[in-house]
């Protein structure tokens, strides 16, 4: 919990600063945009958080986004498959990928980094192969389907809720319940810390690990579909490039430890939102977007350092106080 406070504070500071510097930041249109983007990245981040909690890593996420993002319009507009077939196919594809990762990691004991790095190379390559490097998109069709990503639900006068946010809220609630209230979530947390002790406690660590990879790839698939429905076209070469890094960064910023066993869904959401707000801030406030990443990097770094320092000072103060109290109470 304490871990999350720091990043939450950073998010709030960035929001307040941006609102002061740019009057457009709090406009309904902008808030909707930022919410939609955060929702899309949030879905990816929640997925990868599960893998990180098991002590693994999923680098293939951006490529899964690419694969699904290209496959969906390709199946629908190039191959003219019916929706009822295309959607289950991409869903099965992403879940199958997760399953394959999980099996390779658990049964063959190949390092997650290697497995998913090969995935990163492979899936994008496959997408480039079947699309023959052509851009694929929906053009002017599939408007109803696309409202899943572009639609808005009227909420307040002048402010609508972007549809992806609904997805995110559902995913986040289910994920949070799963992680914190079910035995499976507890199993994941335990095996992330100490797989051996988990095995000795009768936990099927392999199954649980596989499940985490399935969740990660599955949500990456959902994210990929929503992304392509949102932007309407996908170029296999760069669609979803680097998204794995953003997603992992969001998860880690939100309190997941790459050593496994730690993580909270709320934190991950805040982490994902922070990244998107920062990018929005830079376009709204500055005239330069070529130092955008430099600014994001710097803000995160400064934030994390400030968080660490305040925590240390607080800790020192607390122990000093505790000591004083016990000494006076004994005297």
């Amino acid at each position: 919990m304490k871990k999350i406070l720091g990043i939450l504070a950073l998010l709030i500071v960035v929001c307040i600063l941006t609102a002061c510097l740019s009057s457009s930041f709090l406009s309904a249109y902008n808030i909707e945009n930022v919410l939609r983007r955060s929702a899309l990245f949030g879905i990816l981040s929640i997925g990868v958080a599960f893998v990180i909690i098991t002590g693994g890593i999923d680098l293939s996420l951006g490529s899964v986004v690419c694969l699904v993002g290209c496959a969906l319009p390709w199946l629908l507009t190039v191959q003219h498959w019916p929706l009822s077939l295309a959607i289950p196919t991409v869903a099965a594809l992403s879940i199958g990928i997760g399953l394959a990762h999980g099996l390779l990691v658990t049964k063959l004991r190949i390092q997650p980094f290697i497995v998913t790095l090969c995935g990163l190379l492979l899936y994008r390559g496959i997408a480039r192969g079947f699309t023959r490097d052509q851009t694929v998109g929906f053009g002017n069709e599939f408007k109803p389907l696309r409202t899943l990503a572009t639609g808005k639900i009227p909420f307040l006068p002048g402010f609508d809720i972007p549809a992806p946010l609904i997805f995110l809220v559902v995913v986040a609630i289910v994920a949070a319940i799963f992680l914190n209230r079910t035995i499976y979530g507890r199993y994941l947390l335990a095996l992330g810390r100490n797989p051996q002790a988990a095995t000795y406690s009768g936990i099927r660590t392999e199954r649980m690990t596989i499940l985490a990879y399935v969740i990660s790839s599955g949500l990456a698939g959902l994210g990929g579909a929503l992304f392509v429905l949102d932007v309407n076209s996908a170029q296999p070469v760069d669609f979803g490039n680097f998204y794995e890094l953003y997603a992992i960064a969001a998860a880690v910023l939100g309190g997941c430890s790459l050593r496994g066993g730690e993580g909270a869904i709320v934190g991950v959401l805040i982490g994902a939102a922070l990244m998107q707000v920062l990018r929005n801030t830079i376009t709204l406030v500055t005239e330069k977007n070529n130092v955008e990443f430099a600014i994001i990097g710097a803000v995160i770094l400064v934030g994390v350092i400030a968080d660490e320092l305040t925590r240390r000072i607080a800790y020192r103060r607390r122990t000093a106080q505790a000591l004083r109290q016990t000494i006076t109470s004994e005297a």
């Binding site: 209230r181 079910t182 035995i183 499976y184 507890r186 199993y187 947390l189 335990a190 810390r193 100490n194 051996q196 002790a197 988990a198 095995t199 000795y200 406690s201 009768g202 936990i203 099927r204 066993g261 730690e262 607390r318 122990t319 505790a322 000591l323 016990t326």
Partner: protein, 512 residues
């Protein structure tokens, strides 16, 4: 009277929420063995860590050779000749044995590590602790007992003037413990000052020149050479006398509840081991370090699947490839290595205690929090676990209290067959009796108990029957009446069952 080598005055140390040391003082002279004893969580390890520069005290004074010092790092302590053998193993798993022994103090030639010297020197120290393995063996290929010996060899290689041993024998069997005590004797005669921590009071009685007792982070008294005896130590530690140490009454055994037939384990596939445990029976397994006891239990439990043989529980065969199935059949294993197999160190006491029973208590996959909470309370009080709260991560508990958490976790599972591997490792004398009482109670309720112990005393005191293993094979079985240190040691070192008592043990100064 010679100047103390090491002196500590009014040391204070607090952790968040816990005052571990409240003004503890002690001193150590050259050529002296000072035993420090106390209940679990009394602050022994904390004190030793401060003496060896691992942690620093909040206040108080530390003197080496009469001069005030404050060690800010282990390196500083080592350079003043203070070495510590930690209660928990602290070795680099990816390096080999030789590299571990000389880690941080590698001999060099032309600036490069002198591997040949490491090998020859390491062999010397390994010989001293009675371990005949190649120094180039990777450390993670050794069982925990042998790792403990490596840890001791490493401390010896420092050639320290002050050698602190925090429960060095907790994972050693009597045989190895004996040779360690001999070694301590030699070191003492060379003028080394030794601080010795153990819950095995017989060892303390045999070796200590002086005993310092800690209770709740304070000095609770000291015993000089002449006054050291079991009863006095216990009363200083616990604050009362302990009566009737081994409570177990042999009952008429019930039906066979665990039946192991011709089990072959991966490391000793040529031996077929069979054994039976009846309901209400406590069966002990004795043997030297590396005799294959742990392996046998792990094979039954399914975490280290056997390569052959069958295991029946109440007549039904177990799937020994799946710990889940074994647990479902009512079998529980308290593993030997709590740090790696027993606990998720970063999780709280509550989460650790409930970990093995979550599936049983689930409601449609959801956690049953009330049940979890009540189980935790039940076990904390039954086992007398000393923790500031149920939410304390177990890594911040003292070693003995961690062990109690492991046992509590498996008692919570209410097993029909309980496999215990060194269950009292690092546990203080009061808690030990508590555990023996629990074992007796479970047995009287019809639970079959199979327990591995390296403390012969414990086997003799608690077992209805004992199996003795030697190099992966059950060499023989001893009835309660036949149990004696001689008969067990004879079998454990490869002797023959029929002449058990007739073989004269090599005279040892320490009757373990």
């Amino acid at each position: 009277m010679s100047l103390p080598l090491l002196e500590a005055n009014r040391l204070e140390k607090s952790f968040a929420g816990v005052r571990a040391l409240r003004g503890v003082s002690m001193s150590l002279k050259p050529a002296e063995v000072l035993a420090v004893i106390g209940e679990n969580g009394a602050g022994k390890s904390t004190l030793m860590k401060i003496l060896a520069g691992v942690q620093s005290a909040d206040s108080g004074e530390l003197k080496v050779d009469g001069a005030a010092r404050a060690f800010r790092s282990v390196g500083e302590a080592l350079s003043h000749g203070v070495a510590l053998i930690h209660q928990e193993l602290n070795l680099a798993e990816t390096l080999d044995v030789g590299a571990n022994i000389f880690l941080g103090r590698e001999p060099r030639r032309f600036g490069l590590i002198d591997e040949r010297k490491i090998r020859s020197e390491a062999r010397r120290y390994l010989d001293q602790v009675g371990l005949s393995i190649d120094p180039t063996t990777p450390l993670n290929a050794l069982p925990i007992g042998q790792q403990q010996l490596v840890e001791i060899a490493k401390a010896l290689s420092v050639n320290a003037r002050v050698l602190i041993m925090d429960e060095p024998t907790s994972s050693l069997s009597g045989h190895e413990a004996q040779s360690l005590l001999k070694l301590i004797d030699t070191l003492r005669s060379r003028g080394v000052g030794i601080v010795y921590i153990s819950h095995r009071l017989a060892e303390v009685e045999a070796i200590a020149d002086r005993v310092e007792v800690l209770r709740d982070g304070e000095n609770a008294g000291a015993l000089q050479k002449g006054e050291i005896c079991h009863a006095k130590m216990v009363s200083l530690m616990v604050g009362r006398e302990l009566s009737q140490f081994y409570p177990h009454q042999t009952l008429a055994p019930g039906a066979a509840i665990l039946d192991v037939q011709e089990l072959r384990t991966a490391t000793h596939p040529k031996h077929r081991n069979s054994l039976t445990v009846h309901a209400g029976e406590i069966v002990g397994i004795a043997g030297l370090v590396g005799a294959g006891r742990t392996e046998l239990l792990e094979a039954i439990f399914g975490v280290n699947p056997p390569v052959g043989g069958t295991v029946l529980v109440q007549g039904f065969p177990l799937n020994t490839r799946s710990p889940q199935a074994v647990i479902k059949a009512g079998v529980a294993l308290v593993p030997e290595d709590r740090k790696h197999s027993g606990l998720v160190l970063e999780m709280s006491v509550r989460e650790n205690i409930s970990l093995a029973t979550l599936a049983r208590d689930q409601r449609l996959g959801f956690l049953n929090r009330e049940r979890e909470q009540s189980l935790c309370q039940e076990m904390t009080s039954a086992m007398n676990i000393k923790t500031p709260s149920a939410d304390q991560p177990v890594q911040f508990l003292s070693g003995g209290n961690q062990q109690k958490v492991v046992i509590g976790k498996w008692l919570a599972a209410a097993p029909r067959v309980l496999l215990l591997d060194e269950p009292t490792r690092g546990i203080d004398i009061g808690a030990k009796q508590e555990i023996y009482r629990l074992m007796d109670e479970l047995a009287s309720r019809g639970v079959g108990i199979l327990f591995v112990s390296s403390e012969l005393e414990e086997i003799i005191g608690m077992a209805d029957r004992a199996l003795v293993m030697h190099e992966g094979r059950i060499r023989g079985e001893l009835k309660r009446a036949e149990l004696s240190e001689e008969s067990i040691m004879n079998l454990a070192t490869g002797g023959d069952a029929s002449h058990g008592s007739s073989i004269v043990q090599t005279a040892s100064p320490f009757s373990l």
